[in-house]
Amino acid sequence: MIKAKDLIFSYDCEGGRHRSLDGACITVRDGELVAVLGHNGCGKSTLVKHFNALLEVQKGELTVAGLDAKSEANIWTLRRKVGMVFQNPDNQFVSSVVAEDVAFGLENYGVDGSEIPERVSAALALVGMAGFERRSPHMLSGGQKQRVALAGVLAMDPDILVFDEVTSMLDPDGRREVLSVIKRLHSQQGKTIVMITHYVEEAVFADRVYLMHDGRMLADGAPREMLTDLELLRRTGLTPPTPVRMYHDLKAAGFELPYCPLTNEELAEELCRLK
């Protein structure tokens, strides 16, 4: 479980202290999959970097897996428990060989050496990068880098996983594959997952969605509730998914569907039924 209450955070910068987090609260229950949406610079990455103690709590409360994130003694346990895939994969690579890069975290946390090769291959296979073991991460395409960065964290098998815009450079197939890996981690292995995304469609399958704005949460709730509320989306700076947009445009023109669809399939089904 992650429980953050009233987090306030400023990066020290010249010209005053600008609050990147301004009273952010979030609760993620064990085994829950939570999506966080919000405009550029609203504090999403800053928030999640608190979960594994990459950033220090300046003000407010934060417990992760029962550990107080403010206590320095817990830092290394938190790093181990919370696996984080960063927004820019280049920030994640430590080795110039893909396999070594994926193995790095395992070695660092004292995983039995005999287990490592197997876990590395399994993680690379999971993200469709088997065969690239000996390459340098810097000799990969953008989407391939993103997949390798993902493998590095999956190999660690942490209880809590944080994905910061991990599908941004993937093709539609890759996006689907990675999302299905995330869904499996959630439904079959019971992992606790926080997923940051700018794509409202990716939030549809989350258990709960948080809408963030200017350093704090505007609302949270079931995806269907959050993503069909035009006014709330507008205030968050999000655009509605196409089916939601069409539902409202049709309604304005005098055609009301029985419910507001979230996916293209739902929309097509309802429209075909109407006629």
Binding site: E14, H39, N88, T242, C272
Partner: protein
């Protein structure tokens, strides 16, 4: 004058175990004022093509001719290419290295012949059209920006030069939905004023709604060149290339499968909605 790509092939790490043939015999012509979208699966060679157009890779075979001159020719003046061609790379965060945002955006103007005030004005213009408040952002360090903010600063740096050709590798990745829309409207406006746009994107929506011509790459080969309407009409083929079509196109396709008679050349929402309404009203379809 156009860009002509003639029988272009490129192989990385030739002669090593990592040899990768990334571009295979690509030929195409880009005319002035076009708005081109480039699509293709992960690792199909899009960024390699961009690097080749930018003159950063020497073709293994073939040539790239910009405004009549081979850019890899021995006597070609590279600085000419830099002024004509603005390139935003896939992870442009790595392009930022100055101590302030203002200096970063001004970097490309060093040899532009503009005086100090003109440079400041140009930097202000570029940052403002990219959605920043100049006074607030100018003195900030690029390192201390969020992912999406860094991307917009990198874009501003390229726009400041007012290039003839604007080449963008996944420019909207990491932008929030309003930022995406604003950016696409911005380049549409620049395109209307004559700037040639070449944009790589996995986002079929932004290509379907904005580009007028699409290039499809698959395993280093050019396998499609046409309007979004033409290429997106074959949804199954797009899927077999690991690609998607725009959401509006997908909805039109699903509706047709469900028995509704909806035109199958619809790629954008502003055509989908009237078509659906016309159908619901039982009348003929008028766009």
């Amino acid at each position: 004058m156009p860009i002509e790509v003639k029988n272009l092939s490129f192989t990385y790490s030739a002669g090593t175990p990592f040899e990768t043939s990334a571009l295979k015999n690509i030929s195409l012509e880009i005319k002035n004022g076009e708005f081109i979208g480039v699509m293709g699966h992960t690792g199909c060679g899009k960024s390699t093509l961009i690097r080749a157009l930018a003159g950063l890779l020497r073709p293994s075979e073939g040539s790239i001719v910009v405004d009549g001159s081979d850019i890899n020719g021995r006597r070609y003046d590279r600085s000419k290419l830099r002024r004509k061609l603005g390139v935003v790379f896939q992870y442009p965060e790595c392009q930022l290295f100055e101590t302030t945002v203002e200096k970063d955006v001004a970097f490309g103007l060093k040899h532009s012949g503009l005086n100090k005030d003109e440079v400041t004005e140009r930097v202000r213009w570029a940052l403002e059209i990219c959605g920043f408040d100049f006074e607030k952002i100018a003195k900030a360090s690029p390192m201390g920006l969020s992912g999406g903010e860094k991307r917009r600063v990198a874009i501003a740096g390229v726009l400041a030069v007012k290039p003839e050709y604007l080449i963008l590798d996944e420019p909207i990745a990491g932008l929030d939905p309003l930022g995406r829309e604003a950016f696409l409207e911005l380049i549409t406006g620049l395109n209307a004023d004559g700037m040639t746009i070449i944009m790589v994107s996995h986002n079929a929506d932004c290509i379907g709604e904005y580009a007028r011509r699409v290039l499809l790459l698959n395993g280093g080969e050019l396998v499609g060149d046409g309007s979004p309407q033409e290429l997106f009409s074959d949804v199954e083929r797009m899927r077999s290339l690991h690609l998607g079509v725009s959401r509006s196109r997908e909805i039109a396709w699903l509706l047709k499968k469900g028995g509704m008679d909806i035109p199958q050349d619809i790629c954008s929402y502003d055509r989908l909605l009237p078509a659906v309404l016309a159908h619901l009203r039982g009348g003929d379809e008028h766009d």
